[in-house]
């Protein structure tokens, strides 16, 4: 069991999904994978398919159209899965929370394991969030599933 945990913590693969944000967090998340910050040091890879991913990094407020898709992607991820809300919009909806086509933060739709506020968070802040999430994985804590 502890071996499994160890394996999980050493190579969490990330699936990035923009739920309707402004791109700011997207480019910062991407920047975290480039040489300057290089989160691949932690064994983290950016994955294209939800089937391969452990962590779903969500940026942007959840819009009405994207909600169903977000849930679908989440459902396709194998257990155990973790959700990282990147940016203030993903955390709470921030300036868009009263817009007519926005549901709000990611936690209105999915259970979120770690929040990284910031508009956008610096790549360092995103790494900080990922590291904190990895700590959570090491401890073996998974979020209670709710819908």
């Amino acid at each position: 069991m502890s071996l499994l945990k160890w394996i999980r913590a050493k190579s969490p693969w990330i699936l990035h999904f923009n739920t309707g944000g402004c791109n700011g967090c997207d480019i910062e998340l991407l920047a975290a994978f480039t040489p300057r910050f290089d989160v691949e040091r932690f064994g983290i890879l950016l994955q294209g398919s939800p089937r391969h991913a452990d962590i779903l990094a969500v940026t942007g407020p959840v819009t009405l159209q994207v909600r169903e898709r977000l849930i679908r992607i989440y459902e396709q991820m194998p257990e155990p899965k973790y959700v990282l809300a990147v940016g203030s919009c993903a955390c709470s909806g921030a300036p868009f929370k009263d817009c007519y086509n926005v549901i709000g933060g990611v936690d209105k739709v999915l259970p979120v394991d770690a929040y990284v506020p910031g508009c956008p968070p610096k790549p360092e802040a995103i790494i900080d969030g990922i590291v904190k999430l990895i700590q959570k994985i090491e401890e073996g804590g998974t979020c209670e599933k709710r819908r």
Partner: protein, 114 residues
């Protein structure tokens, strides 16, 4: 082919990677981080709460008894509150590591100590 020569050249140089979180670069001067209230200067006028573009600031009560609630998870870190505050009660900090497991701990409360 040009890129291969380049790759070999850079192979011999010091890596550019900052090994965050083990080593870190301080944010530059004037970095717009988390706003912090100095309640001894705050007059409780409520302007910061009304001018905030994302509704991240809540003010309970008015005047000297006012209590400020700052929701970091909604904050845009734009610095408009600090700019609008007539009495310089809001300062922008240098920190950016706000990641938490829970949104409830992202609320910072400020109250005047008596």
């Amino acid at each position: 082919m040009a890129i291969i020569a380049e790759a070999i050249k850079w192979l011999l140089k010091h890596p550019v990677t900052i090994k965050y979180p083990f080593e870190r670069e301080a944010p530059p001067k004037g970095f717009r981080g988390r706003p912090v209230w100095d309640m001894h200067r705050c007059i409780g006028c409520g302007l910061c709460s009304r001018i905030c573009p994302s509704g991240a600031i809540e003010i309970i009560g008015r005047g000297q008894e006012a209590k400020i609630k700052h929701y970091v998870d909604r904050c845009l870190f734009c610095g408009q509150c600090s700019e609008s505050c007539p009495r310089n009660a809001i300062k922008l900090m240098n920190d950016f590591e706000h990641a938490r497991y829970n949104r409830d701990v992202m609320i910072y409360e400020y109250k005047r100590e008596t």
